[in-house]
Amino acid sequence: MTTHTPPIPAQDLPVLGRVTLKSAVATTELARRIGGVLRAGDTLLLSGDLGSGKTHFARGLIQTRLTTTEDVPSPTFTLVQTYDAGDVEIWHADLYRLTDAQEAWELGLDHAFETAICLIEWPVRLGDDIPVNALWLVFETDPDAEDTRHLTLRGKVDLPLARRVAPLMVS
């Protein structure tokens, strides 16, 4: 019998890195570096308030992995946008409009977590179904600098994904 273990909330997970990004360009560059080390089965949970740069980060990451250039629209209305990145799919989801974690199953996210690179905005909507082996990227704005974002990386220390991403957390 398997027992279901609820995920540890982001704020209780160890901090694996912090970086201050002073411009949208700096955010894009970090997204490209992180995009370079992601593999099938990796999930990044992008959290932060409206306007904190989640979609901007995801767009930069996706564009660095696409083999042919194509639009990377906001997934707010379609919930999920999928991209073909050669040998792996990228799923970009915005779960804000979900009202029930069950709905993520309808989107096919459970399967994607295992086979694709997943970038998930508003992951709290997943409730207990947040993948435990995912990394959290927590975005915060800066009250004194309009273009600056503070980014905190949280997750389980022993994750192979964490070992790949944490060293990249420099501005």
Partner: protein
């Protein structure tokens, strides 16, 4: 596989088409008939969820394919009943086969295949965006070429339309669509969802000049647009007010809404002016999509249209509906287009497959 049936094109008159649309948050069915007198919308029903929206502080998406399938059955029945038409009188079925929410698109395509197979009639897969872009021909009977600004919750693009299958994208949003910006502005200001009507209503009592919000991408040539930075600017203006005086008054909200709306109108108007200037002889400049309901935006677009006739279809045909899918199906039927049982649901399906991708801000930040 889609194929052409050249000898079946114009011969069937009267022609009755059933349209199905389930690619977004709504499920819809419609029946269109073409006879000697022209084209008639016999019925158009939409199972919206607007009544639920406010309760959740966001627009509630219909995700489950099963729920869509159940609703489709009900919508088809209602459409037939309102049109006083029986299934046996339907000559063809047009269905949105993309782009959109995968569960919805899939269930629409499956339902259409089942009906087409059972009735032994033609199946036609329609691009949801083509449905919007062709609507001015349904409502006003205009000829080609014309310019459409498609502006909704999930889309924003300028399309030159030269035929039912001939679309050229002149520009579009590099990040969010305006409808999304309206919804997020409403979220930021604590106004009810959907944001379009609530922001417009609050803006009526507001001063559009109080907050100097950015006009993104006006400094760049061309017709591309950006709305993500505008939403962030609204957020900053709100936070500045809160830290200054502890909260927002009703007047602050109204002024922020009016200033936001003015920025969207300015940007859409200027980019429309550029799109029109580039195109020369057009039969019309039309606006489509849910955001086209906004009166301030309509007025701004009408003004830049100048001598080009400006068309804004009635709201029920601007927002997602199945009459536009039936009509696009009718246009394709006339061209002899037919799909078979391999018709696939396509979550992504750009209308203009040759247009360069919209890369989004990154090099320079989307601020004007």
């Amino acid at each position: 596989m889609q194929c052409y049936l050249p000898f079946m094109s114009v011969t069937t008159i009267p022609l009755t088409i059933l349209g199905l649309e389930s690619s977004c948050d709504d499920t819809a069915a419609a029946i269109l008939r073409e006879d000697q007198d022209g084209i008639h919308i016999l019925s158009s029903v939409v199972s919206g969820q607007t009544d639920l929206h406010a309760a959740f502080g966001g627009v509630v998406p219909e995700i489950a394919a099963r729920a869509h399938a159940e609703k489709l059955d009900l919508m088809v029945e209602a459409a037939l009943q309102q049109a006083n038409v029986s299934l046996a009188q339907i000559n063809a079925i047009a269905v949105t086969s993309g782009p959109g929410l995968i569960g919805g698109v899939l269930s629409g395509v499956m339902a259409a295949k089942g009906l087409a197979l059972g009735l032994g009639i033609r199946l036609i897969g329609v691009n949801h965006l083509a449905g919007h872009a062709l609507t001015p021909r349904l409502t006003d009977g205009i000829g080609f070429p014309y310019l459409v600004l498609l502006v909704s919750g999930g889309h924003c693009q300028f399309l030159r339309v030269d035929g039912p299958q001939d679309f050229t994208r002149l520009g579009g949003t590099i990040d969010d669509a305006p409808g999304e910006a309206f919804d997020k502005t409403a979220r930021i200001l604590g106004l009810p969802q959907p944001g379009g009507p609530s922001v417009e209503s609050a803006a009526r009592n507001g001063d559009p000049r109080r907050f100097a919000l950015p006009r993104p991408l006006l400094d760049r040539p061309g017709c591309d647009l950006s709305f993500s930075g505008l939403k962030t600017a609204v957020l900053r203006a709100r936070d500045a007010l809160i830290s200054e005086k502890g909260g927002l008054t009703e007047q602050d909200r109204a002024d922020l809404c009016a200033s936001f709306q003015a920025a969207v109108a300015d940007v859409l108007a200027e980019k429309s002016r550029r799109a029109l200037a580039d195109q020369g002889d057009l039969t019309a400049f039309a606006v489509a999509g849910g955001v086209a309901a906004n009166q301030t935006l309509r007025a701004a677009l009408k003004e830049v249209a100048g001598d080009t006739p400006f068309l804004a279809p009635p709201l029920a045909l601007c927002t997602d509906n199945a009459a536009m899918i039936a009509f696009a199906g009718l246009e394709l039927f006339r061209l002899g287009v037919a799909d078979d049982m391999t018709l696939a649901a396509r979550p992504r399906w750009p209308l203009d497959q040759t247009a360069p991708a919209l890369l989004g801000s990154g090099k320079k930040g989307a601020k004007a």
